[in-house]
């Protein structure tokens, strides 16, 4: 707690407007080394806008932002960053090996780390031209280029879009290794499974603002929501009157209700309906938790 580690990305009061729309609205965010931070949110939340600012592809209208202590997009910042963009292509006529050598050279290494190809399962593809690879294999090569400079900051914009299961597993392992080796990893995703599996910290964004920030577990705990599913003769209106019930819906022949106090809600339910059957109580998934947070934000 006493050692102060300099953040890899430091954003203070970042605002970026496109016309009347604020894609980012007063965002304060510090991304620390040694952990994976996931920017999570629906499309249009401002995740990619933030990434573009971090990479110097765009400039904020207000606020200050440093990447690796330097100006975003400066030679210093670029030298320490490995990047995988959402919509990127590589030269179809060059082989995997040629790409890796080229990009390793950008980072000052005459040859790429020979272990990198093996880590990403790319050895059998090394002599193949990029244009002949499948979509998942191409994304793995793009990921290898992001890693080939052994970057202090790894920025991945929607890294598992268009990935097959094997590529996803290999990429996830490599992302965790890179963070364990001390790199700051920033990734954007709208996949909750990805954020939950990978991230040490989840930053939830909506409409250009950060609305929650914590471990995946803490985000879930913050809403402490549970889901009760059962068959009941009660009407939805009756269930919604019960103490502790946030919402209730009918799903085919069952009733699904959300609660922040399952014990109280269950007592009420059982008291009113002794015939209640097929009872299931589950902790809400992260997805439900985020839905709930986003709804409260919108309300």
């Amino acid at each position: 707690m006493t050692t102060k580690i300099r953040p890899a990305i430091e954003a203070r009061g970042i605002t970026r407007r496109f016309g009347a729309v604020a894609a980012l609205n007063g965002v304060d965010l510090a991304i620390e080394p040694g952990r994976v931070t996931a920017l999570l949110g629906p499309n249009g939340a401002g995740k990619t806008t933030f990434v573009n600012l971090v990479l110097g592809r765009d400039r904020p209208d207000a606020g200050t932002l440093t990447t690796l202590g330097a100006n975003p997009g400066s030679a210093t910042a670029r030298r320490g960053s490995g990047v995988m963009l959402q919509a990127a292509a590589l030269v179809p006529q060059l082989t995997v090996d040629e790409h890796l050598r080229l990009y390793a050279g950008y980072y000052g290494a005459a040859t790429p780390d020979p272990k990198l190809l093996a880590r990403l399962g790319l050895n059998p593809l090394a002599q193949r031209r990029y244009g002949t690879l499948s979509g998942g294999q191409q994304r793995r090569v793009q990921f290898a280029l992001a890693l080939c400079g052994n970057p202090a900051l790894l920025v991945l914009d929607e890294p598992t879009v268009a990935l097959d299961a094997e590529s996803r597993r290999l990429n996830w392992a490599a992302i965790k290794e890179q963070a364990a080796a001390g790199a700051a990893v920033l990734l954007t995703t709208h996949l909750l499974e990805e954020a939950e599996t990978l991230a040490d910290r989840v930053v939830l964004m909506s409409a250009g603002r950060i609305i929650a920030d914590g471990t995946p577990h803490a985000i879930r705990a913050r809403v402490a929501e549970q889901r009760i599913r059962c068959r009941s003769r009660l009407t939805i209106a009756e269930i919604q009157q019960l103490p502790g019930v946030l919402s209730a819906n009918r799903e085919t022949d069952a009733v699904v209700l959300r609660t922040n106090d399952a014990e109280t809600a269950l007592r009420g339910l059982l008291a009113l309906d002794p015939t209640l059957s097929d009872l299931e109580v589950a902790r809400a998934s992260l997805e439900d938790a985020l839905d709930s947070l986003l709804q409260r934000e919108a309300a």
Binding site: L55, G56, R57, G73, A75, R78, R79, S81, V83, L85, A87, A88, A89, L90, V91, Q93, L94, E98, R101, L102, Y103, G105, Y106, Y107, G108, A109, A110, T111, D113, P114, R129, Q142, L145, G149
Partner: protein
Amino acid sequence: MNAMTTTIASDSYPMTALQVYFREARAELVRAWRTPAFALPTLLMPLAFYCLFGLLFAGSNADTARDLLAGYGILAALGPSLFGFGAGIAADRDNGILALKRVSPLPPGAFLAARLACALVFTLIVLLCLYALAAGAGGVTLPAATWLTLLAIQLTSVLPFCLLGLCIGLSTGSSAAMALTNIAFASLAVLGGLWMPLSLFPTWLQDVAIGLPTYHLDCLALAAVRGHATTGTLVHALATAGFIAAFGGFAWRAWAAATR
């Protein structure tokens, strides 16, 4: 194990900026070479038309073969420069190749230098083949200094054409840039007098040539092969410098706007 040790050992030698520029240029050349739609017309078209008009139709007239060598050498530079920069950069902008290079530590200058080097190498290959054809089959004999002057002029013409291509490639999307590049290529080649002598055109069309860099470069190359420079030659040289400055200025602004 042995290979591994060697690789790790070479890792410890940091890359110099010059090496990064060199590797980028080499990769660009490999890419162009493996793209038949670019390499074949770029390499073969000027040679084929020179054989046709400069050698066959000229009927072993060494003077015609010599004069047409001037124009076809400029044409040899026009193809790889315009298409590599105009259509090529627009395509790289559209598909995200440029975006990834821009966020990588590659110096922005290396990206452009690699394309310039690629255009220069392709032009040089065609020029050497053209000269061999002219000397071997066309009976063209020139003093060594004249060959070198011709080479210098024709290689220099790569610069204004690349800058013009860069303006096109940075200002529109890839399909529009392809169309624009084709239009620019055809009009610069034909109206500039590279394809056939301007004297075959009506006078008003001949006047258009004065506004084209290809015309002035052709005149410079012609003056070189004929071995007599006039005051007009100086005007053509100044006009060429003007085109380089103008295209350079526009390209600079387009680059700044595209990479802001």
